[in-house]
């Protein structure tokens, strides 16, 4: 097959120079960016007083297998919460996308946020769209070199701080920063920081809209959740095009009355909406796969309409149904279904977090040897108890057994068994039992872990198995 231009699957990249724009959506997006960056960059530095453990508000301590989130400490056994969080994130994405389209892409996605910041840096160093185009076309000179290099240096600085900040969530931030720069941080810290520096720089600085258009899977499967009632950013074609299409403002086509008479629409074809688009599309061509619903074209068009004194909304949020003049309904089975699933997932997670077991007990049978015959003929089984105190207070424990008549428990020679706050402990206990009926095989019983002087904690009965010799000898 001839590889002609039309059939080519490869589209050479057309460089995009997004123009800056002011407006309500832009302001809203800056606010989100400020909030998100404030949280992301400052959170590792927030100190938090705890009776035990580090004084960092959010710390993912892998070595100690504890994730600190303010007053909540997630332990290894609580890993299921992560499933809950991811499930909620996915359902929230489905729910929101079903109603309001690619809101995540346009307002919250870090690709969008970091690209916005990188564009801001580019604009501050090299100027706005026209200046940047001119700079790119100009021959290399000191000015161009300085501006280009300056942009990349600033980009790299942002990328580096982004990467380093991510790393700070995994260790005590003030210590780690010092260690990082004095060369004594763990390899993983350097690898993580440099990897994220590289990805941030490449994705937000160089790849930009290519990420959304070609790389991102969310962008693809979000379109599967669209229906005719989903909110989309769209150009009101009837108003903009009239019967004769759009036309620039000329002397004969200046006022709206003149344009109406000629059958020309309200779109003055100024191209502002195309220039501000970060993915380089023309929204007037209808809903396109590249559109991330960032709404900057709305701001652009509103600016123009305001200056002309015409009403806003030539480009606006609408839905396919609305655009066709039908009524748009939000309460549909799909939306309600996503909503209910989301509500369910959130309540399940909330319940699970709020009912986190303050005391965790696991009984591990000593299997080598499984049982031992004692001098008086009794059989002894040994068990290792894994005890974990998830509270901020010490827990004194007593250990007893039930369900094995006549059995004796030997829990060692401790005067007191106390679990320090947020600590775990392994205790070897032995159970001795004479089976009166020449029993064989195994018997089930319970090891009771009884917290002392703590009314808020109940007894934990952990099931265990007592093994006997296979045949009576």
């Amino acid at each position: 097959m001839a590889d002609t231009g039309n059939d080519a699957l490869y589209q050479a990249r057309i460089k995009i120079y997004p123009r800056s724009v002011k407006g309500r959506f832009r302001t809203f997006k800056w606010a989100i960016l400020g909030l998100a960056y404030g949280v992301y960059f400052l959170l590792p530095w927030l100190r938090w007083e705890r009776n035990t453990g580090p004084d960092q508000a959010v710390l993912f301590d892998i070595a100690a297998r504890k994730f600190y989130l303010f007053d909540l400490v997630a332990h290894a056994q609580d890993l299921l919460w992560l499933v809950g969080v991811l499930l909620i994130a996915a359902l929230l994405l489905f729910f929101v996308t079903g109603i309001a389209g690619r809101v995540f892409c346009g307002y919250f996605c870090f690709q969008t946020l970091w690209t916005d910041l990188y564009l801001l840096i580019e604009r501050l160093v090299q100027g706005d769209r026209v200046a940047r185009i001119r700079l790119d076309k100009s021959p290399w000179n000191a000015n161009k070199l300085l501006r280009k290099a300056g942009t990349h240096v600033l980009w790299l600085a942002v990328a580096f701080w982004t990467g380093l900040t991510f790393t700070l969530y995994w260790d005590n931030a003030p210590d780690l920063v010092v260690k990082w720069f004095t060369g004594s941080a763990p390899f993983a810290a350097y690898a993580t920081t440099l990897f994220l520096t590289a990805t941030t720089y490449v994705m937000a600085g160089l790849a930009r809209e290519q990420v959304c258009t070609y790389m991102c899977p969310y962008a693809r499967f979000q379109s599967a959740m669209f229906d005719e009632d989903t909110r989309i950013v769209a150009y009101e074609e009837a108003r903009g095009e009239g019967s004769q299409g759009r036309h620039r403002i000329t002397r004969e086509l200046k006022s709206r009355e003149q344009r109406r008479e000629q059958g020309v629409g309200d779109c003055i074809d100024c191209g502002f909406c195309v220039q501000v688009c970060p993915t380089g599309i023309d929204i007037r061509n209808g809903l396109q796969v590249q559109c991330i619903s960032c709404a900057l074209c709305i701001d652009a068009c509103d600016t123009i309409m305001d200056s002309l004194g015409w009403e806003r909304g030539l480009i606006h949020y609408t839905s396919e149904a609305q655009a066709e003049g039908k009524k748009s309904s939000l309460l549909k089975p799909k939306t309600i279904g996503y909503g209910l699933a989301l509500l369910l997932a959130v309540s399940a997670l909330a319940w699970s977090v709020s009912s986190q077991a303050p005391l965790d007990v696991a009984v591990v049978q000593v299997r080598q040897p499984l049982f031992v015959r004692l001098s008086d003929g009794r059989i002894q089984n040994s068990y290792e108890l894994h005890l974990e105190n998830k509270t901020e207070e010490p827990i004194a424990l007593a250990i007893m057994i039930h369900g094995l008549a006549g059995a004796v428990l030997d829990a060692g020679r401790f005067s007191a068994l106390t679990l320090a706050p947020q600590r775990s402990l392994r205790v070897l206990v032995r159970v001795r039992w004479r089976s009166n009926h020449n029993e064989k095989g195994s018997r089930s019983f319970f090891l009771d872990i009884i917290p002392q002087k703590r009314k808020d904690l109940g007894m934990i009965s952990a099931p265990a198995t007592f093994y006997l010799p296979g045949r009576e000898r």
């Binding site: 080598q368 040897p369 003929g377 002894q380 030997d410 401790f414 402990l425 392994r426 205790v427």
Partner: protein
């Protein structure tokens, strides 16, 4: 100068040279990404030579610069050398966060008395965790990873019967000095009927329903100088600790697998074998191979396996 020509069929340029009139060479240069990657490896190699051990020089080699690593060698001396993974591992084993924590705690346990260790749940947990490794490296080949031993060969450490004493002091002495357990063979001394009688008596001590007359005859041999069994096993047959003699009155059999026999005749046969052939068992001394702290951990660990005395 040679002239660039194109070869028609493939439209690939030739190098422009012609030999023997018409022999030409296609010019298919390496892909530029490959070429640049190659140049990059050359640059990398040069940088590598500077920082890493690289060139052999007259019986030695270039050590590289700015790559010193300091660690403490097995003789306790601080040693600085060029960076290498073996030294890095040694340094990590000595200086990493967990290594320091573990060493500090080991010092704490080593300084504590046995009563203190046995009475403290945390020290016990540490001791068991660390001693499990020492036991696995040194003791498990004979006694098994869980200390269950092998009947007839190596005693079970997980039960409550102690040939050489089950207190921490006894266990520590056993680990330190080792033991030589010996019972003479009586196969040449007594005839089969007498051996049968002694075995019957021995079984009667732990409550087996043996023939009373045979048991009585056996007792006469056991408790008098005829057999002299009581020298080591004592008149009560509970065994002399200083000789490592077995307690014959309990349900634990460390040499003759009495519990493994199906019937009384089988049990008796097994006991007879032991009396006839005698026993020789040896546990080596560990004071030369293990540190005092390691022996202490092992002592507590072994003591705890069966519940201790």
């Amino acid at each position: 100068m040679s002239q660039t020509k194109t070869s028609k069929p493939s439209a690939v340029q030739t190098t422009g040279h012609a030999w023997d009139g018409d022999i030409q060479e296609f010019n298919n240069p390496l892909p530029s990404w490959w070429l640049w990657a190659f140049y990059a490896t050359v640059v990398f190699a040069v940088v590598y030579w500077v920082f890493y051990p690289a060139w052999p020089v007259a019986g030695s080699y270039t050590k590289g610069v700015m790559n010193d690593i300091t660690f403490v060698d097995s003789n306790g001396k601080s040693k600085t050398t060029h960076w290498n993974t073996r030294s890095a591992l040694l340094r990590d084993l000595q200086e990493s966060k967990t290594a320091v924590l573990s060493r500090d705690y080991l010092n704490k346990v080593a300084a504590a008395s046995y009563a203190e260790i046995l009475g403290d749940p945390e020290m016990m947990a540490f001791t068991r965790s660390m001693a499990r490794g020492i036991f696995g490296d040194n003791c498990a080949p004979c006694h098994g990873s869980g200390g269950a031993g092998v009947i007839g060969l190596f005693p079970n450490l997980a039960d409550d019967d102690w040939l050489w004493g089950g207190s921490v002091g006894d266990i520590q002495a056993t680990v330190k000095n080792g033991h030589f357990g010996f019972m003479p063979a009586f196969g040449e001394v007594f005839d089969d009927a007498q051996l049968d009688d002694i075995a019957s008596y021995v079984l009667s001590l732990s409550g087996h329903p043996v023939d009373a007359a045979a048991s009585r005859r056996g007792k006469a041999i056991f408790q008098t100088n005829e057999g002299g069994c009581y020298y080591c096993h004592t008149h009560q047959a509970t065994g002399l600790k200083s000789q490592g003699a077995a307690n014959l009155t309990d349900q634990i059999w460390t040499i003759a697998d009495v519990n493994g026999a199906a019937d009384l005749a089988g049990k008796k046969e097994r006991v007879k074998q032991v009396i006839a052939n005698g026993v020789q068992r040896r546990m080596p001394s560990w004071s030369e191979r293990l540190s005092a702290a390691q022996i202490k951990l092992l002592t507590v660990y072994v003591h705890e396996l069966g519940g201790g005395q």
